[in-house]
């Protein structure tokens, strides 16, 4: 079972865009150790068997989901969207300064 250093968890939190409290990080150390254990089960899978499956291409069904056209569509309820913004200035969403 993999064990996780505090710094490793902090790094993963940064990658996840999360700022967590110290006690949350401690809890995650324990949880992740346990959870990653059963993910390792996948290592048992024999590689040749796996390639065979991919080569055979077992698709879910013959009807493939068609790709939709990449087109711009006007959304009529813009005000409803804007209303959800935590901070706004008229028709614009306010964000913190990126460059000081």
């Amino acid at each position: 079972m993999e064990s996780f250093e505090r710094n490793e968890i902090k790094n993963l939190c940064r990658q996840s865009g999360l700022r967590l409290k110290n006690k949350e990080i401690t809890k995650l150390q324990g949880d992740l150790k346990e959870l990653s254990g059963y993910l390792e089960k996948l290592e048992d899978i024999q590689v040749p068997e796996v390639y065979e499956a991919i080569e055979e291409g077992y698709w879910m069904h013959k009807n493939k989901t068609p790709l939709r056209k990449d087109r711009v569509e006007d959304f009529e309820e813009k005000e409803l969207l804007r209303k959800n913004a935590p901070k706004r200035n008229k028709n614009y969403i306010t964000v913190p300064k990126v460059i000081k």
Binding site: R19, E24, L32, L39, L42, I45, Y58, W59, H61, N84
Partner: protein
Amino acid sequence: MDNQGLTIQQIQKQLTNKKISAEELFRETLEKIREQEHKIGAFLCITEEEVLRKGRALDQKIQKGASLGNLEGALYSVKDNIMVKGQKCTCGSDMLKDFIAPYDGESILEINKAGGISLGKTNLDEFAMGSSTEHSAFKVTRNPRDYKLVAGGSSGGAAAAVAAGFGQFSIGSDTGGSIRQPAAFCGVLGIKPTYGLVSRLGLVSFAPSMDQIGILSGNVRDMARVLEEIQGPEFSKDYTLIKRKPTSYYRELADFEEDRKSRGEKLLQGITIGIPKEFFEIPMEKDVESAMDLTMEAFKVQGAELVSVSLPHFRYSLSAYHVLTMVEAVSNLARYDGIAYGNQAPKAESITELIEKSRGQGFGEEVKRRLVLGNHILGREKTSLMKAKRVQELLKRDFQKVFEGADLIFTPTTNTTAFKPGKKSKNPMDMQRLDELTVAASLTGLPAVSVPCQEPGKLPVGGQLIANYFNESELLQGALSLETALVQQRRDQKEER
């Protein structure tokens, strides 16, 4: 008059025969909610005034002698990760506690077009991540069959609402068993249709390669009616497989029954049901085991042939499911940055701090755990991700082999009955094992339904039927046959005593 437990067809008959008005009927349901909801906690919001206003409009329509739509007279509820325009869509999270949906989900539009009337939004595990509805930011939903127990999850509010008689059906979402598992715990039916049959437009994404909208109901006939309405094709945004003609599930179900009756045949005559040995090797609670034995007996009485089958890669399915969904969750939940919508942390010096604090405060424990683990999986040198994708392919092959010799597959939906809050939530592994028997149908995109099959007087147990792609008609026929067989079995047992 007690109008609870009626099918939609029976309700429509009562309404058109003027035995009761829609307003009276709806008031009865709202009264029931007022009496019991504080003990259950199924809803996050109830639209009482709108229900009564629509009830009065329906009465006027009936007075004029207009014909009724497929779902007219039916009340339903919507899991709070599906958008209903102008109403909050919280996903059970503090992150979206004030978010107002700017449009209706496609399935909601279709149900409303057919005359269904929404009672409100139901509770769920945050962003549909969980199996007991204990991970909702707002409250724990209790099981109407026993208030001391959880309702299951993540569509726990939806299952509890149907089990308590708060409306005829509920719309939920199922990524790894989130409809089927709470349906099993609460003693109602829950279907996850074939991936791509029902539009996901308006469903807040958790892991969109497996997320699927489905139905929870008190009986198979109502389920068929609703499925008929929400099935694709949906042309506006291509969220369904459009090369498919719609099926009249309700009509086909009635024809199936009629046909068998007229020929004097048993309902499952000529049907082969595969019993996958790997599912039954997982340790089960005693009540689940005895319910499975009785159900298989009931299948035989209805004329089905039971054959033992094997799904060799089933043993990897839970690991593969969690790898794939956690990785998908990482990218799908990246949009919650506290800027355009959602929780925004009050004090932040920089944009990075704003995003990290907003997410840290807005997401609950389970979501954070999955995001961190998802990032860990993505960063592994010997990546599990490709192996998980390959397990998915191998599993599809296993199922197709089984369907060469079987029409349906039968398994338990869960290996336990409902439990007390806190029993499994302390250990995340215990909670995730609750999906062990449902994730295989999710990984493969196959349609599956959970049917209540507990012994009388015992806690609810669900039996899971799985069919091949787009064979929802056969799946519903199997569910109806099981429903009929179990009623008959109980009647026979009573007479014997």
